[in-house]
């Protein structure tokens, strides 16, 4: 997946300004940056939820707008922050929606097996018949991820998956992200606010500032005192824990 010269304006204000980068396959890529830097908008554009003003999003040799939505949904899964589901829906029924691109409303025996796997993988077996609106935030997030797993796509896009979760659930979420990549071989792209989660669990980081890419590279390349201070305009210290750079800001 390759992004070229992406531009987006809202009411004459440029929020994404000719952004170009290539997404490395089979890795975890985090998009970070201060509020309003354009990272969520870029995410929205590459997941076809937001229309762009200019630029190309090349996915497997074809621009994303030329893909049939149905075909794309077998290759690329999206999870956004707003998941207010008003319906009476059980965990299992939600996960079963992940099979919609393949079999429409009719679930086959093969789909059932995949749904079972996804539920077991996310350790949701005991609560698979509970209603979504009766779950805690962390459990609901896990159910959503199980749906994404059932969707069985090569690419997974997560928009601030740790938002509204406490430290325990947020850390678990990041471990799941790592497993999606390492065990299931998926390419994961996520928008994150917590720099240290990005540093500890990603392979690559793309840092945004003022609608432009401030720095794109491996975690070690981006997590430097100078780069982070420039992007966030506060003082940073970089420490190393388990061979990974972590930042302290104050």
């Amino acid at each position: 997946m390759k992004v070229t010269e992406l531009t987006k304006q809202y009411d004459g204000k440029t929020v994404v300004d000719s952004v170009s980068f290539e997404i490395p396959k089979g890795k975890v890529l985090s998009l970070i940056g201060p509020n309003g830097a354009g990272k969520s908008t870029v995410m929205g554009i590459i997941s076809r939820l937001i229309a762009r003003d200019a630029g190309l999003v090349d996915f497997e040799g074809q621009d994303i707008s030329r893909w049939k939505s149905k075909e794309l949904s077998k290759r690329l899964a999206i999870l956004t922050q707003s998941n207010q589901i008003q319906m009476k829906l059980t965990v299992r029924e939600l996960v079963a929606f992940g099979r919609f691109p393949y079999s429409g409303g009719r679930i086959t025996a093969e789909d059932e097996a995949i749904i079972d796997q996804a539920i077991t993988y996310m350790e949701l077996d005991e609560m698979q018949d509970r209603f979504i609106d009766e779950l805690s935030g962390g459990q609901r997030q896990r159910a959503m991820i199980a749906m994404v797993i059932a969707q069985d796509t090569e690419f997974v896009l997560l928009d601030e998956p740790t938002n509204n979760l406490d430290i325990y659930h947020a850390t678990n979420m990041m471990k799941i992200v790592r497993r999606l990549c390492d065990e299931l071989g998926k390419t994961v792209i996520l928008v994150l606010h917590e720099i240290n989660y990005a540093a500890f669990y990603s392979d690559y980081i793309c840092a945004f500032a003022d609608g432009k890419i401030a720095k794109f590279g491996t975690v070690k390349e981006v997590m430097t005192r100078q780069t982070l201070s420039q992007i966030y305009k506060v003082d940073f210290e970089i420490m190393e824990i388990e061979g990974k750079p972590l930042s302290i800001y104050y």
């Binding site: 939505s69 949904s73 999206i78 999870l79 929606f97 919609f100 691109p101």
Partner: protein, 322 residues
Amino acid sequence: MRTAAHRANARKLILMAALVLLAAAAYLLVEVNPKYFSYAMSLRIPKLIVMLIAAFSIGGASIVFQSIINNTIVTPCLLGMNSLYTLIHTAVVFVAGSGSILAANANVSFAVDLVIMGVAATLIYGYLFQKTNHNVLYVLLIGTVLTSFFGSIQSTLTRVMDPNEYDTLLTTLVASFSNVNSEIILFSLAVLAVLIFALRRDLALLDVLTLGKAQATNLGVDYDRSIRRLLLGVTLAIAVATAMVGPISFMGLIIANLSRQLLKTYRHSQLILGSVFFGMIILVAGQLIVEHVYSYAIPISVFITVGGGIYFLYLLLTKRRV
């Protein structure tokens, strides 16, 4: 997936279908004088069919509408079709007089209603959808504004109207099942059949659409297109029901929520059936009571409005998250 809950709901729906049949049979047969059996049937059967069609379009449209808006305490009344209907009728009587063919002939009056409401709905809502970038909430807001707009014009007209004319007008402004004939029934059935056929793909997507725009898009569904088509379908279905029996779509709130409460599912195939059956039971049993207990003294819409109002309050007070 055929889960236990799914089967339990299927049983509930079969039970409701049986109740509908029971109510229909009671409506046809209660206090029939065997001597005039065929005459009684020629009066009662068309009325029964009209009630069933009205319940079908209102029940279906209400569930679809709530799912599109993602809110279970809205009714398609908000789209302004009811007040457009009252405005059309008032304007016709005001301009042409209650004796004119436009007002007196049921067929012509039905055709006028349907054409005006259909064209207005298609133009207004089709245009608004593009103008507001497919924002359903704006469309809803404008629908509410239009409701009071139509209502104001209507009340202005009635103020300057001949009181005798107003008296005749008033009877057409409350929902009623009298004065129907078979041409209207056939025509409504045809409109509804075309509507369902045209929207069959979008209706099948309803379960996915309720997950919200992001998730529906993720699953490969063209959300905006389906929502626009379904909203238009809802408006037309309500227009058919209103043109046939008068302003009654408030009932949609009751039956849609009863169906959601009873079935506790997300499957729209079941929710819509449940809502339609509830509508049929309420209308047919209600009309039975109106005719035989109150001897037509109170129109059925009074029961529906009073009952619906109380149920609406109950919904507001018991729902924590709206």
